[in-house]
Symmetry: C2
């Protein structure tokens, strides 16, 4: 394994790591920790599902104070709705806190995997004690692997920016790749930075970042019980402190964090379960941004659109159909639709005619773009998804068995 400071350990003052502790039946890593040397400002967005995993409930409580020491994450079991779910989540926070010399309520917990099964909590707490002794500043990649479930590749991103003359770094990690549908955070994503930010400024930044990144992806339309997106800022860069949700410094860090989050979000869509193609849906000309997003999401969620892309089938009417039932209000006689840069529908009429075979060829690309102009206003949105393939069925028909 390459030992670089990547992902969540790219910024100064963070360490991380991942090991196999025995939640998964395979020997894949299934336990990760992300820790800040000093307590970091923290903010998060959590699943809107009414059925929430015990770790979500616990972390929503712990993050209220605005400062945390670290995050402990297991994959393979989402710790949802079992008799011991709450105490298992608390045991993870307590064990990690003890190992890090921090109060339990300064530790967040995240779990991802099967719903409704008992956690092997003994193995997990033993694992936490072991892992906390081997955390390192090059452990981001290990952590990225340990939070994976059906993901086919680990997802890390990092960037830098200058705040008040000092370099700050932003790094992140995320996991997909099923039960991905935005409605707040849409999976597990953790972003760290060595910039200095107050908790309230960080909360505003996190919400805004989420709106243009993780909230814009869909794989299968299912909003998980366990999604969370957490940001941590520990100030280790020495850059001046960002204290309000406006101003130049705020915007610079917002830009850097957005860049990392969008990269991670696109990786999640790209690695959607069974995906063979990455699809970007752009809608312009909606009455407002909300309707633009509804329209783009309807296309991105349509099983018929996604199977057509998989099959290289130039059946563009399915995208038009999805726009029509999306709930966005528009007049088809003013709308336009392009696929892979080819106009297929213009102001109420099919215009592609004999070029269907050319469109079919373009659909062989790994990156597919579907763009609609609803001709009804200035609202726009961009959404990322993947195609729907045999492999999605295989993965999900055989998930727990």
């Amino acid at each position: 394994m390459e030992k670089n400071r990547s992902g969540v350990t790219a910024p100064a003052g963070f360490s991380a790591g991942g090991i196999h502790c025995g939640v998964k039946k395979t020997e894949d890593p299934d336990l990760a920790m992300i820790v800040s040397e000093t307590e970091a400002s923290a903010a998060g967005v959590f699943t809107t599902n009414l059925v929430k995993g015990a770790p979500v409930i616990l972390s929503m409580e712990h993050i209220k104070k605005g400062h945390i020491k670290g995050i402990v994450v297991n994959s393979g079991n989402s710790n949802v709705m079992t008799p011991t779910a709450a105490s298992d989540a608390m045991a993870m926070a307590q064990t990690a806190g003890d190992a890090l010399c921090a109060p339990a309520n300064r530790v967040l917990v995240a779990s991802t995997g099967v719903i409704g099964r008992s956690m092997p909590i003994g193995r997990i707490t033993t694992g936490i004690k072991k892992l906390s002794r081997s955390l390192s500043q090059v452990g981001g990649a290990e952590a990225a692997r340990a939070i994976m479930t059906t993901d086919t590749f680990a997802k890390e991103a990092q960037t830098t920016a200058i705040v008040g003359g000092k370099k700050v770094t932003v790094g992140g990690v995320a996991k997909g790749s099923g039960m991905i549908h935005p409605n707040m955070a849409t999976m597990l994503a953790f972003i760290t930075t060595d910039a200095a930010v107050t908790p309230s400024a960080l909360r505003g930044m996190t919400r805004r970042v989420n709106e243009v990144s993780f909230n814009n992806i869909t794989v299968d339309g299912d909003t998980s019980t366990s999604d969370m997106f957490i940001t941590m800022a520990n100030g280790a860069s020495g850059a001046r402190r960002i204290t309000s949700a406006s101003g130049k410094d705020f915007k610079i860090l917002l830009g850097a964090m957005t860049k990392v989050a969008r990269e991670l979000a696109q990786m999640v869509a790209r690695d959607g379960e069974g995906a063979s193609r990455f699809i970007t849906v752009r809608v312009t000309g909606a009455r407002n941004p909300r309707e633009a997003r509804m329209a783009a999401m309807a296309v991105a969620k349509s099983s018929l659109v996604k199977t057509a892309v998989f099959g290289q089938d130039p059946n563009w009417g399915r995208a038009l159909c999805a726009l029509g039932y999306s709930g966005a209000i528009f007049d088809p006689a003013k709308a336009k639709l392009s696929i892979c840069g080819m106009m297929v529908f213009n102001k109420g009429l099919a215009v592609i005619g004999g070029s269907l075979s050319r469109l079919k060829k373009k659909l062989a690309n790994k990156e597919i773009e579907i763009s609609a102009d609803l001709g009804s206003g200035a609202g726009s949105a961009e959404v990322w998804t993947c195609d729907l393939t045999y492999e999605y069925i295989r993965i999900n028909a055989e998930y727990t068995t």
Copy 2:
């Protein structure tokens, strides 16, 4: 072919038929007509998609008067958004009207198939002239076959009832099997009866029938551009006329029509593209019927639930998860969930434990029942769907190519 009076020709005074006229590239039948000897009262519900096929727009106009002579239907091309779509639909109505000695505006038109392709209108009008000479009182089955697209079996149902001492018959035909998602009528469905009903009473009856039948099925969540559900009542039974949307006679005919519609709707779900299993989702204890339906639909639409059923995977947490994001408000600590009659979740806790293997065996059944009690009120709903299989992907990845 058996020559019985079935489906739409089960009631007296109706004739129907189906032939191949050349819309489909195969030799399968692709043109159907359903005709009443005398003008019939008629009512309909149409797709809510903003992008409507030209036949939908024309038929919505023609049905306003409340009386029609017949319906002409082609499969293989949905006649949506081409330069000649409106005139093609009108040519079909005009040709059929001429052949039936009725004004064009007494004919409804329905088309189903690919979106955005030009219709071979010459072949269709030639076909209409030919078909109108061979309609018969045993032609219901032929018509049922001619309206099929990816359906694997023709869908007919019929029943009888006694209205004022006279026997009346109700018969129907429907087609699926992709782009099936309710929001008004969800596919093509035509129900005939020889009862006598005024147009306004029939409109009320049709809406109520739709609410508890076609509006409760989902295959892939896509609301088509071309859906319609039409009812025709020609009075040929001689039974006394039903003139208001209340009273004993109304209720009797409503019951008979509901029976036929529910049978057809369940056939559509059962024959969902690629389906290997029929799934009934029942929700009780919701705050109101609307939320019950939202909750049931969320489970029925979940790709993760549907692939789990296909894979005989007892991963019941996915159904719980879908209830949680459905938008229905409930407290998981008061909710219950059963699958195939086995309680898996009770008042906030997983209860299935070691019986997972027994549940896995039950999932081998062809008929799967998922029942949730949200513990929050008296709202209930029932929804029908099918599993999501490799075959769905195959069918839809290769639809037009």
